[in-house]
């Protein structure tokens, strides 16, 4: 097969839309433009029917009932609705939420907001492999705890948390369990019943669907969960999320879920084989380290630190041809590297040296071959230029040097 450049390996940031999804959406812009809430004419019925069908497609992917699907504008909104909505709805029961330090900003910042509103939040640390400690989780529960919020798969390192064990602990203590499923749904089997999930967010644009549409799953039975709406309006989505439904977006999300459902198994096998091949080849480079647990992990993600070279400088060597992301943040005013990698206990230097590879449905073997070559060449070139590499090679203890921090 021919090599297509540039190569997109940032599928954890967003995925391209599958052409089959676009095809499903197209009639719902111009022709079938109705408002799904218009109950008294055919334009509305057509739109409502399309939304109902999509709701079934979405529910099926995660083993839920269609009535448990609340459409939102994306995972950020769904995370906010879950956290703030539970905090408000269950205020009479307690005000304590447990989460962890490697969550997405949409969870962490919503939790900060809740703290300002008088809530108590425990941020669990993760172990060096990125997984939470279940004993610590259980110990953190108090009689004021209303919610545990732990993500399913991590966006930066791809580790998958022990969701079933977490939900068992939540159940045992009568606490609700919310999981940010944005990176996991559609990539690995997620089943809200078997996994014991009470609330779960996910997003169209991470699963080959459109941007601007997402889901909050809210359990209706055993237990019946409710969230307080965060926007006032027409009372759509069972009163939990007002606003005229994004019909084309929802139709696209439905189709994207159906495709993931049908293709997840073969795609997962294909992607994890490619990811493992990429990883094994890059680990041939001296002083390269994989970040996070390698066993409990999304099939398409790997995060590798190349010690003694800086991630952004490294990317400049190939970013004309390969798009991926780095844990370094040389452009941000703070110069702070990835908080997720730091939470694993990585030194700032290793965090600055990391690259995240996010493979996807359209990644080819030829692209992986090209990537292995380009990255290896770039690392070797930058090491020739790196004073740290020279010191390492001469046996100088870099940690013992007194660096002037600016």
């Amino acid at each position: 097969m021919e090599l297509n450049l540039p190569i997109y390996l940032d599928n954890n940031a967003t995925t391209p839309m599958d052409p089959r999804v676009l095809e499903a959406m197209l009639p719902y812009f111009v022709e079938k433009f109705g408002n799904a809430a218009s109950r008294n004419h055919s334009f509305g019925w057509v739109a409502e029917e399309a939304v109902d069908y999509a709701r079934e497609q979405v529910a099926k992917l995660i083993g839920a009932d269609a009535k448990e699907i609340i459409f939102t504008s994306g995972a950020t909104e769904a995370n906010n609705l879950a956290l703030k909505g539970v905090f408000e709805m269950y205020a009479s029961k307690g005000n304590h939420i447990i989460t962890c330090t490697t969550e997405h900003k949409a969870v962490l910042d919503a939790c900060k907001h809740i703290e300002k509103m008088g809530g108590q939040v425990t941020y669990l640390e993760v172990k060096s492999d990125g997984l939470i400690d279940l004993g610590e989780l259980e110990n953190a529960i108090t009689d004021k705890t209303v919610l545990i919020s732990i993500m399913y798969g991590n966006n930066e390192i791809g580790v998958i948390q022990p969701v079933r064990e977490i939900s068992a602990i939540a159940r045992k203590h009568g606490v609700l369990f919310f999981t940010d499923g944005t990176q996991a749904v559609g990539k690995v089997p997620v089943d809200v019943i078997a996994d014991g999930i009470d609330l779960m967010s996910f997003s169209g644009h991470k699963m080959y669907g459109p941007k601007g549409v997402g889901v909050l799953y809210v359990r209706r039975k055993n237990p019946r969960v409710k969230v307080t709406a965060q926007m006032d309006g027409g009372g759509h989505e069972r009163g939990m999320r007002s606003g005229t439904l994004n019909v084309p977006g929802i139709v696209g999300l439905g189709k994207a879920c159906e495709l993931c459902m049908n293709e997840m198994e073969s795609e997962g096998t294909r992607l994890s084989a490619m990811r493992d091949r990429l990883e094994a080849a890059l680990m041939q480079v001296e002083e390269a380290y994989v970040n996070g647990n390698r066993e409990h992990r999304l099939p398409h993600t790997t995060n590798i630190s190349f010690k003694y070279v800086e991630g952004e400088g490294l990317m400049m060597g190939f970013n004309k041809n390969i798009a991926l992301s780095s844990g370094s943040a040389c452009t941000s005013a703070s110069l702070e590297p990835s908080y997720v990698l730091k939470a694993l206990g990585l030194g700032d230097d290793l965090a600055h040296s990391s690259l995240r590879f996010g493979l996807g449905r359209f990644t080819t073997d030829e692209q992986i071959d090209f990537t292995i070559n380009a990255i290896t060449t770039s690392v070797l070139k930058l090491r020739e230029m790196s004073p740290l590499w020279e010191m390492y090679k001469e046996g100088v203890d870099i940690d013992a040097i007194e660096w002037a921090h600016h």
């Binding site: 003694y308 070279v309 800086e310 952004e312 400088g313 400049m316 060597g317 370094s328 943040a329 040389c330 452009t331 941000s332 005013a333 110069l335 590297p337 030194g347 700032d348 230097d349 600055h352 020739e384 230029m385 790196s386 004073p387 740290l388 590499w389 020279e390 870099i398 040097i401 660096w403 002037a404 921090h405 600016h406």
Partner: protein
């Protein structure tokens, strides 16, 4: 954010990458930055003691493309200058030459610091007083 052509050029074909013998009295070495901050620059000058001119300059940099370009440019500018002329190199000259955006100004500051640190090392080795700016940073 896109890099300027000059940054790309220095990154692709860096000038004067390498190491000078730091034990020589006419070689000054400056090592600035910190691995935790994502940039470390080592800049070295060799001074021809007859003429007082900088006869050679080398760098190695751990950092982003702008940091690499700033140090590469600095070594080019240093060669052929007297030590006093070298002291006059200002980080804003680097910013201008490389078209660095505001978020990358710290890379040029680091290059200026590296020049000063190398000169200072040379001065101290040769029985001259430490530069005030560098002494103050200790």
């Amino acid at each position: 954010m896109a890099y300027s052509d000059k940054v790309i050029d220095h990154y692709t074909n860096p000038k004067n990458v390498g190491t000078l013998d730091k034990s020589k009295t006419n070689v000054g070495t400056g090592l600035v930055g910190a691995p935790e901050c994502g940039d470390v620059m080592r800049l070295q000058i060799e001074v021809d003691q007859e003429s007082g001119l900088i006869s050679d300059a080398k760098f190695k940099t751990f950092g982003c493309g702008s940091a690499i370009a700033s140090s590469s440019l600095a070594t080019e500018w240093l060669k052929g200058k007297t030590v006093d002329q070298a002291l006059a190199i200002d980080n804003m000259d680097i910013v201008e030459e490389l078209n660095l955006p505001p978020v990358k100004i710290h890379c040029s500051v680091l290059a200026e610091d590296a020049i000063k640190a190398a000169i200072n090392d040379y001065r101290v080795k040769n029985g001259l007083a430490e530069l005030e700016t560098v002494a103050a940073a200790h």
